[in-house]
Chain length 332, copies 2
């Protein structure tokens, strides 16, 4: 990889404030929610669902945004591109990501729907079920893709969720083209198995062509290849030039590129409180490792370490310096 | 006490959304903050201080509001009277307190400053340092004091912070008069030692006259009587008809009324994470006990139990059913 400037990674994604509340499995059934999934909802459903949720806390989120915060916490240089409205939640989002040390200069929109919200129900097993109202995120388009930022980042990271809106998809494609023109790498997260179902052909095209690093969990990678088992999906990925980082929850992860393959153990946590952001923080560790020219095994271990921190508390962003944890684990 | 209707307690206070972030002791010094205190700040200071704070989480707060949520969590019937704006944070405040089972019907204001915010810096020892921008709370006045609600509550609970604005102080006095006319009890929290300094004579008048139950911590009760030691303050309170509930952080609390006196041990917690709301939740336990005709000792133990729950996590409101904890502790 070349490095034209000062950034390790730039992430493009939906700029979202999470609303997290505890919920029972029974409540998920009553509300017709598929446990562990992400559903897109409209303003009316957001209002009615919020009315049914218990008292909660609010915290900045968004998949790629969480990943950029994780990279900054690992002492990496990260930037985020995404769209908020100039409202209270938008100001909270901007404050939090900048306070975490991530560059964020995308202008806010002044009119229209409010800053995106994700209503997250956390069950006693720590699983999260997400319901996203995209709000102002639908205004994210090609004009927001800042060419100079893409050019100076070793890796451009894109969340698959962007494929859910045509304007964001166009922004996505522009970012891929800019990164490749600058000789930088492109990383993609499949984000969600239902998202994969909605956009399978586009994702397969990108993986065959424009993507250097792919993140997917077990449900997403099996959905992509329409196979039943993790091993089936693994065989589809073998021997390809791209790096695949495949996460398996409590089973850890598998990293492969060409003929190289590593099976990585998860980092144990005393208690799983809330898995929101686990995949995002895993990606942070791996991307930071790759941007700093670490070997695959070390990058994977950094991913496991970052994911473990975030599942020990409510909310998707680290509450402890990941750089310090990495140092303590001998991974700095 | 008489009980005209269906409520155990109605609380009047500032309707506030908390913004909590971790901070080091060094940062408090740089920002010229007095550790453990509550300072009132204006909009400009709120903006600049927020800019200096780290990434945080947002959670509904407000002293009396937290207390009412605690009473509901103990299976009590509680109502809250306070003022939000019809903005994003105001809607979050309303959602959370209603989702917690507390009646809240005070209309929101449509214009002017936004919903009140409290910027809270939490140091590694779990202490909180609070900076309150009152915003829309300054619109709280006598017209918001709903007479029927006051009449049907066995106890009307008022936070001392209301004394910081003349209109809220007038609302406070109206609520006291309505409660006394209905034959109900009046409870007061002194809220903060600097608040006591600002309004000492008014508080002393109320304690001599209109108040049946007084909550104060060690700093507040010594500030009130301008004495140096807790025991000095205690002697000032001895033999009075009103019930005094005096909290002493990790030393527990002392309850006294007339010649009766109890020294209550704190409930131990594995780790003190954030003391925000500890006093508010102590008041919840005591008020619930009193409204349900428990003896003083049991009421004090309920207070210690509720306070212990909230200092084990970030945020001022319970994350576990206090009714269940009370049952497990043999206090139900």
């Amino acid at each position: 990889m070349s490095n034209a400037g000062g950034l390790d990674v730039v992430g493009l994604g939906n700029a979202i404030v999470d609303v997290l509340a505890q919920a029972g499995d029974d409540q998920l059934k009553v509300l017709r929610l598929v446990k562990g999934s992400m559903a897109l909802i409209d303003a009316d459903r957001a209002d009615s669902l919020y009315g049914e949720m218990g008292a909660g806390i609010e915290a900045s989120g968004g998949s790629a945004a969480n990943t950029m915060v994780g990279i900054a916490s690992l002492s990496g240089r990260a930037a985020f591109i995404g769209k908020v409205k100039n409202d209270q939640l938008g100001r909270i989002f901007r404050h939090d990501i900048k306070a975490a040390g991530v560059e964020f200069e995308t202008p806010a929109v002044a009119k229209g729907p409010g800053t995106a919200r994700c209503l997250i129900l956390v069950t006693p097993d720590g699983q999260r079920t997400m319901n996203t109202y995209l709000g102002a995120s639908v205004d994210f388009d090609e004009d927001d893709v800042h060419a100079a930022t893409i050019a100076q980042a070793r890796i451009t990271y894109l969340e698959g969720y962007l494929f859910d809106k045509p304007a964001a998809k166009a922004a996505f494609r522009k970012a891929v083209a800019l990164a490749r023109d600058a000789g930088n790498s492109v990383a993609l997260s499949l984000s969600d198995s239902f998202c994969v179902d909605r956009h399978r052909e586009d994702f397969l095209d990108l993986i065959a062509g424009g993507v250097d690093i792919l993140f997917a969990n077990e449900a997403e990678i099996t959905a992509l290849f329409e196979v039943k088992t993790f091993d089936d999906a693994l065989q589809h990925m073998r021997g390809r030039p791209l790096l695949a980082a495949l996460t398996r929850s409590e089973k850890g992860s598998v990293l492969l590129r060409g003929e190289e393959i590593h099976v990585i153990d998860p980092v144990k946590v005393p208690r799983v409180v809330d898995t929101t952001g686990a995949g995002d923080l895993y990606a942070a560790g791996v991307l930071f490792g790759l941007a700093r020219d670490r070997d695959l095994l070390s990058a994977g271990r950094l991913g496991s370490l970052a994911a473990a921190e975030t599942i020990g508390h409510m909310g998707a962003r680290p509450q402890t310096s990941l750089a310090r944890l990495a140092k303590e684990a001998g991974l700095a």
